[in-house]
């Protein structure tokens, strides 16, 4: 039972972690590129890295927080322009090749030790430690010091935390998720979103009841970081919702389905694609800034793998859906935490030693990405008809 409890705790910790939320923001940006516009951007990590560098370097040079964030976003803006100019008029795979190449160039430059002035800015492969740029953000925290456990009422308080409480709780969670699926299929009209939101909140409370999370209020990875990042996820989702419902959003989908048709309507396809690339890239940069706040700006931790994680999360949740990126990122990181902690606990060391479980999780992720694309390209929330496109 203790093992199950610790696995559960690891999963919930991962779910509320600010880095999960940060990746969710980047995936929301990627959704604008890939899901809505059909742009195959395999360099989302470079947008994140540039945002992070812009932000961190500005702060270490004494600029105020707001300006630093703006500089991070501006770096991504310029990067999107540079990438888009040569490739957006060409066939889709050129964008793919150029974005992945450019992302690598950014990473190479970031970890370079070739020039002194550059090394002073980026600190090479070791990166800029978080303690150098985290200060201004931490100072804004209204939460004060100390620790907080969300939901003071937890499984410990019922029957002394007996095993049946956890099992019953897990069954209830499964029931709630089933109810959510049912609600989304059967209900219609205004009741549907209300029912889904109510059920989600119930599930969240129940999960926190089963695996209470304790954290510092303000420290690294503390509640302040978590709350701000998740609020940003919410804002980004709303922004994307408004964008997609607008006439501009319909143009994006039109370009994805048939570029020539949109062109024949007299629209400037190149300009619209460029706008989509820029907006998605800005979300990427914002995600990057939030990603490094509780960590380090390390170029190698934001390389191709991160982009591939973003794609897995996006396809898992459902490309071209509004909540898909958030759900996908949550499931991705929770699933990874589950694989790692479960195989640490249950797979004997002779089969898979503990230091290799992380690698094993990556293998599972790769295979999952393949199977997802083959058998359920629309993911959990997507619409299959929306994903027939080809670049």
């Amino acid at each position: 039972m203790d093992t199950i409890q610790s696995i559960l705790n690891a999963m919930v910790r991962e779910a509320v972690s600010p880095q999960t939320a940060a990746v969710a923001i980047a995936v929301i940006g990627l959704n604008i590129h890939f899901g809505f516009t059909g742009l195959l951007n395999i360099g989302q990590s470079a947008f994140m890295l540039l945002g992070a560098y812009g932000f961190a370097i500005s702060i270490t040079h004494g600029l105020p927080l707001v300006v630093a964030v703006l500089i991070g976003l501006a770096a991504a803006f310029v990067f999107a322009l540079v990438l888009g100019m040569p490739t957006l008029k060409l066939r889709g795979d050129y964008l793919a090749i150029v974005t992945i190449s450019a992302a690598e160039i950014i990473r190479y430059v970031g970890r370079s030790v070739g020039y002194d002035w550059l090394l002073k800015l980026t600190h090479g492969a070791q990166g800029i430690p978080g303690s150098q740029y985290r200060g201004p953000f931490t100072d804004l925290s209204p939460f004060g010091d100390g620790n907080t456990t969300i939901l003071s009422f937890s499984y410990h308080d019922v029957a002394g935390g007996a095993a049946w409480v956890t099992i019953l709780g897990l069954l209830l969670v499964a029931g709630l998720i089933a109810a959510m699926v049912l609600a989304s299929r059967r209900l219609s009209g205004r009741i549907r979103p209300a029912a889904i939101i109510a059920l989600s909140i119930l599930t969240l409370l129940l999960v926190l009841f089963l695996a209470p999370v304790t954290g510092q209020n303000t420290g690294v990875r503390g509640w302040w970081f978590t709350v701000v990042t998740w609020v940003l996820v919410g804002i980004s989702t709303v922004v994307v919702l408004l964008l997609v419902k607008s006439p501009w959003g319909r143009l994006l989908k039109g370009i994805r389905e048939d570029e020539d048709a949109i062109r024949s309507l007299g629209k400037n396809v190149f300009a619209i694609k460029m706008q989509a690339l820029i907006i998605g890239g800005l979300f990427g940069a914002l995600g990057g800034i939030m990603f490094v706040l509780p960590a380090t700006v390390q170029p190698d931790s934001m390389g191709r793998s991160l982009t591939f994680f973003c794609y897995t999360a996006l396809l898992l949740g459902g490309a071209a859906s509004i909540f898909g990126p958030v759900l996908g990122s949550l499931l991705f990181f929770v699933g990874r935490a589950f694989i790692i902690s479960a195989s640490n606990a249950y797979v004997p060391d002779s089969v898979l030693s503990t230091d290799k479980t992380a690698q094993f999780a990556f293998v599972v992720i790769g295979v999952a990405l393949m199977l997802l694309v083959i058998f359920r390209p629309q993911g959990i929330l997507g619409d299959k008809r929306e994903l027939r496109f080809n670049v």
Binding site: I97, S101, F360
Partner: protein, 484 residues
């Protein structure tokens, strides 16, 4: 065993300690040319320690059984590394830091030399290098440290460039490179010689890239798929080579042949169980491309699980170098270049002159028309996958031989060069891929000579690709048609 004349490293890689342990005669032969290992920092490598024979025997048996179960990946299972003789300095987080390295010249390692460490406050401590040239200092304060060599303890005829300053950080081991060389050593070479030398390396890299990129280009041409997992096929070649030739001690040439056959078989199998069914399902190209990304991710971490994150070598012996004119390369490099040229010529001949080659080009041009004229498109694509994987495997094996080792992400590193080469030459054109590869290889190797810092050399090639797309999006040999 492996032929002796097979040569080392322009890029020094690590020697796999487990394998090294089995060859007691192995001594590092240090060559006295400009290509030497001179001044390489990093921890000393244990080259002579032996592991208990029973242990490696048991591990070998376990490896054998596992291999049968997990072929061909399990070839990568290896004997465990032998223990080191030097007492290593271990840095504790927030408490201490290590400064360590191996002292050597272009002529060999230096034992029994006294080194002095001075901190910013002027306090000193000193140490003597061990029999393997290893030395280390443990410090309990972060900051700048200066290391000085006691010249009176140096063997005769050696000079040192002077003091070295390093910055120590808690929890880390910092390497310090102390430049020591024989008195008559001349580090300067003429710019022209350097240019010729790196052109030769460039052609070598270009030929190896060409082997892999022709396959990539043929796959793209016949199926329209940008295969991101192609790089892992390259790594697989090197890894299987390591398993067969190093771990299992199969003769180099026989092992090489087996590598090509095994890798070709993986290509055949991939098309049989995955790509052909997916094509018949009508999965879009974008989706297929993401499938290859997933496959590439899964394969990379499989390599990490089976081999680990270290660099492994196909041949353990340090190969000898040969000087032809102004060019100094390892013997392995010359042979690798020769093999590449022969294989590339054979592929070119097959494409241009044989029936199946013509059929391949026809499918590349227009699959529907080719099918209508009686060509079995699926058969051609199956063949293309097989040949492409076999060539990638060969490329990986040769790459591991000439660059002195292969790592789980070696393929990943050259994947972008492959794409750059294929795009540069013109997507889908086999001969374009050849020319593109040579250009990319030359750019990568020559750019450091022209003043680009070494860690930017890959970036230069990618930058060139982006610039070319602005001017000539169809590539050098591509047809000028509307793209997009």
């Amino acid at each position: 065993m492996a032929p002796t004349g097979f040569g080392p490293p322009r890029l020094p890689g690590s020697i796999h300690p487990g394998a090294a342990a089995r060859r007691t005669d192995l001594k590092s032969r240090i060559q006295g040319s400009g290509l030497s290992l001179r001044g390489r920092g990093g921890p000393a490598r244990d080259r002579t320690a032996g592991s208990p024979p029973t242990r490696s025997w048991v591990i070998g048996l376990v490896g054998l059984v596992a291999t049968m179960l997990l072929a061909p990946l399990a070839l990568l299972l290896s004997a465990s590394p032998a223990g080191a003789v030097d007492v290593r300095c271990t840095a504790e987080p927030d408490k201490s830091a290590c400064i360590a390295s191996t002292l050597r010249t272009e002529a060999g390692i230096l034992a029994g030399v006294t080194l002095t460490l001075t901190n910013e406050a002027g306090d000193t401590q000193s140490t003597t290098t061990s029999d393997t040239g290893y030395w280390s200092f443990k410090v309990e304060q972060e900051g700048k440290y200066t290391i000085t060599i006691d010249e009176s303890t140096l063997p005769k005829g050696l000079v040192t460039a002077g003091d070295v300053t390093v910055v120590a950080k808690f929890g880390q081991t910092v390497g310090a490179l102390i430049d020591t060389r024989t008195g008559n050593y001349d580090a300067s070479t003429s710019k022209l010689d350097e240019l010729i030398q790196s052109s030769a390396s460039g052609i070598r890299l270009g030929l190896l890239l060409a082997l892999a990129s022709i396959g990539l280009s043929l796959i793209y041409g016949t199926t329209g798929l940008s295969n991101f997992a192609h790089a892992e096929q390259v790594t697989l070649g090197g890894m299987v080579g390591y398993g067969l030739i190093n771990v299992w001690s199969i003769n180099l040439y026989l092992g090489g042949l087996l590598v090509v056959i095994i890798c070709g078989a993986t290509g055949w199998l991939q098309d049989r169980v995955m790509w052909q069914p997916l094509r018949h399902r009508g999965l879009g190209l974008t989706q297929l491309m993401i499938v290859t990304i997933g496959l590439s991710l899964a394969m990379q971490y499989c390599f990490q699980i089976f081999v680990g994150a270290r660099t492994v070598r196909v041949l353990v012996a340090n190969p000898s170098v040969r000087k032809i004119g102004p060019v100094t390369l390892t013997n392995q490099s010359y042979v690798a270049m020769g093999i590449s040229i022969v294989v590339l010529a054979a592929v070119g001949y097959a494409l241009l002159r044989t029936r199946i080659g013509r059929a391949t080009r026809a499918v590349s041009d227009n699959p529907a028309l080719a099918a209508a004229s009686g060509i079995d498109v699926d058969k051609v694509i199956r063949l293309v996958w097989t040949v492409a994987a076999a060539l990638a495997g060969l490329s990986g094996l040769l790459y591991a031989l000439v660059t002195n080792g292969i790592k789980w992400d070696s393929g990943l590193q050259i994947l972008l060069l492959l794409f750059a080469a294929v795009t540069l030459g013109g997507l889908g054109t086999a001969f374009g891929a050849l020319i593109g590869s040579l250009v990319i290889g030359l750019v990568v190797e020559i750019s450091p000579v022209l003043g680009v810092p070494g860690d930017f050399k890959y970036a230069t090639a990618l930058l060139m690709l982006i610039l070319l797309l602005l001017v000539r999006p169809q590539g050098l040999l591509g047809k000028a048609q509307r793209v997009g």
